[in-house]
């Protein structure tokens, strides 16, 4: 599915690469023992190391290394058994030491790949250039005082994974799908919570445009710190349009860092080339090379959870459900787990329909997630069991489901309480059939005269007469016999 933009001088293609900063899930910071908990009193989750006090030294957190390697494995990427930490030097009020410890020349993770799925069902591979570990910065607050900004270092030193993609992305949709997929993988791995509102995942978006796929890349602009998938997509569209307009009017796009303003729907220059940074990277002399053993990497690989693509393929095969349903069900680990519990030993397709249909609908309506679903997987399974043994029919099941949502009672209790047990007594059904036919003698005439459609009418009337509880198969059979 190719995405292009029509300009005045012809058709343009966009070229996008993303640098995603993902906060590592760990108890303490990358180089200090201070807590990573979000929130908290300003400057309380801060050690003297994070605050850059004289003589303070960094010590690497084992768990952060492990999380980076596990993420690398999840991205099918090369794991570099030896990596290094470098200092990226610049002055800013949120950077206490005057340098960020990052990995420049020798990142812990090398090239990998992420497969994305698009709305037309097609898939594309987006290359991963690298993943490296680095420190987050502190936070500045500008609104409290007319003359001063306030500095809170609670986040300073929290571990980030910077995941850099190849410039393989060709549309806003692909960019959205990429970030979504990345987030999905990180959440499966438990290496990042992917919470973009709290800033635990944010993207720097590199955008350029060109006339055709055979043309070399043109100058790109980097849009910093975009904090939602929707904004990533919008920013690309808006920035591409801006660049096309410049090129088409005979101008030159400047390589620069820009900011996306979702309120104004524009990107604007943050830093021009003149005051571009010169980060003076050099190996951090406080830290030696980071060496990991292949055996340890293998062990981590064995301990990885089943990742979304594999799970989706298994669902298709094992449960015989359509690819689309399978993709929806593996979107989150918790949903997939829920589904598998419902489907276990039951009609897996029917289970998929209930989960993706009624359950998702109900969760959406009530703004809940699968984790706090009012209907547990066991409860939903119990309802499917009642359908399977013909205690209730599909129609009654809907009623039972709504009741379960509201009361949290089990399907069996609801059926018992409301007396919804399906009637399979042929005598009672025959009587109801006879009664309906007697009351609708004219319709019987018409049906017998060839108006086949009326069969449904009779079924409906019989069901109504039996308060919906009749077994529909027996009703059908009884009607056919008499008619």
């Amino acid at each position: 599915m190719s995405y292009t933009i029509e300009g005045n001088t012809g058709t343009w293609e966009i070229v996008v690469g993303l640098e995603v900063h993902a906060q590592v899930i760990s108890k303490s910071k990358l180089f200090s023992g201070a807590s990573t908990l979000f929130g908290g009193e300003p400057n309380s989750h801060v050690s003297l190391i994070d605050a850059g006090f004289p003589g303070m030294l960094p010590v690497i957190n084992q768990a952060c290394v492990e999380q980076a390697v596990r993420t690398g494995l999840g991205l099918k990427a090369r794991i570099n058994l030896e990596s290094r930490f470098d200092r990226k030097n610049y002055f800013y009020a949120d950077l206490p030491t005057g340098y960020q410890i990052s990995q420049f020349e020798h990142p812990i993770i090398g090239t990998g790949v992420v497969q994305i799925e698009l709305s037309d069902g097609s898939t594309r591979d987006i290359g991963i250039t690298r993943l490296h570990l680095e420190q987050d910065a502190g936070k500045l607050m500008h609104d409290q005082d007319p003359k001063r900004s306030f500095v809170d270092l609670n986040r300073a030193g929290v571990a980030l994974m910077e995941i850099v993609s190849e410039p393989d992305i060709r549309s806003p949709e692909e960019a959205g799908a990429y970030v979504r997929k990345l987030r999905q993988i990180l959440r499966y791995l438990g290496t990042c919570d992917g919470n973009m509102e709290e800033g635990s995942m944010r993207a720097d978006v590199n955008v350029s445009v060109r006339k055709s796929a055979s043309e070399p890349f043109r100058t790109r602009c980097e849009i910093k710190n975009v904090n939602s998938i929707r904004f990533v997509m919008q920013a690309i569209e808006i920035e591409a349009a801006r660049q096309i307009e410049i090129w088409e009017s005979g101008g030159e796009v400047d390589q620069e860092t820009r900011l996306f303003d979702p309120h104004k729907g524009e990107t604007r220059s943050l830093r021009s080339k003149e005051d571009a940074h010169d980060y003076r990277y050099f190996p951090d002399p406080d830290l030696l090379p980071l060496v990991v053993e292949q055996a340890w990497v293998d062990e981590l690989e064995r301990g990885l959870p089943e990742l979304p693509d594999d799970k989706r393929d298994r669902f298709i095969k094992q449960y015989g459900i359509p690819r689309y349903d399978a993709s929806v069900l593996v979107a989150e680990q918790a949903i997939a787990d829920y589904y598998e519990e419902v489907a276990k030993g039951r009609d897996a397709r029917l289970a998929a329909n209930w989960v993706t249909g009624d359950l998702f609908g109900a969760l959406n309506r009530t703004g809940r997630s699968i984790q706090d679903s009012p209907i547990s997987a066991q409860a939903l399974g119990g309802m499917l069991d009642l359908m399977a043994d013909k205690t209730i029919n599909g129609k009654i099941a809907k009623e039972v489901f709504e009741d379960m949502l509201e009361t949290g009672d089990s399907a069996a209790d609801i059926v018992e309480r409301k007396g919804l047990k399906q009637v399979t007594d042929t005598g009672a059904i025959d009587a109801a059939v006879a009664d309906v036919l007697a009351r609708n003698a004219d319709k019987v005439e018409e049906y017998r005269g060839g108006k086949d459609r009326l069969f449904g009418f009779f079924v409906g009337q019989v069901m109504k007469a039996m308060a919906g509880k009749a077994n529909p198969a027996i009703v059908n059979e009884a009607l056919k016999k008499v008619l």
Partner: protein, 96 residues
């Protein structure tokens, strides 16, 4: 290697050391002298020589366990602040 004034200014800016014009010229001359002296390294053939990493010969990075062992010392963190507002450090207003 001689150093020009523009480069010296750029370096002073990068290092955030405000120098007036007179100081810039003095620094330019001194750094230029040191750089000239350093040119002795041009004699050394380093083809195929790896850069030195880490001064200790027998040390590797020893990671620490992931546990909260530090922080929660707001009073210490703020104890030397030249200017503060409640629990915050302050800087002149930054426009973003």
């Amino acid at each position: 290697m001689s150093l020009d004034l523009a480069t010296t200014r750029r370096i002073a800016k990068l290092a955030r050391i405000g120098l007036d014009d007179q100081e810039i010229e003095a620094v330019r001359a001194q750094l230029g002298g040191i750089l000239g002296w350093i040119e002795i390294l041009d004699e050394v053939d380093v083809e195929g020589v790896p850069p030195m990493i880490g001064t200790s010969t027998n040390a590797a990075l020893l990671p620490r366990e992931d546990a909260v062992t530090d922080g929660d010392c707001q009073d210490k963190v703020l104890s030397n602040a030249p200017d503060r507002e409640g629990p915050f450090f302050t800087v002149p207003k930054v426009v973003e």
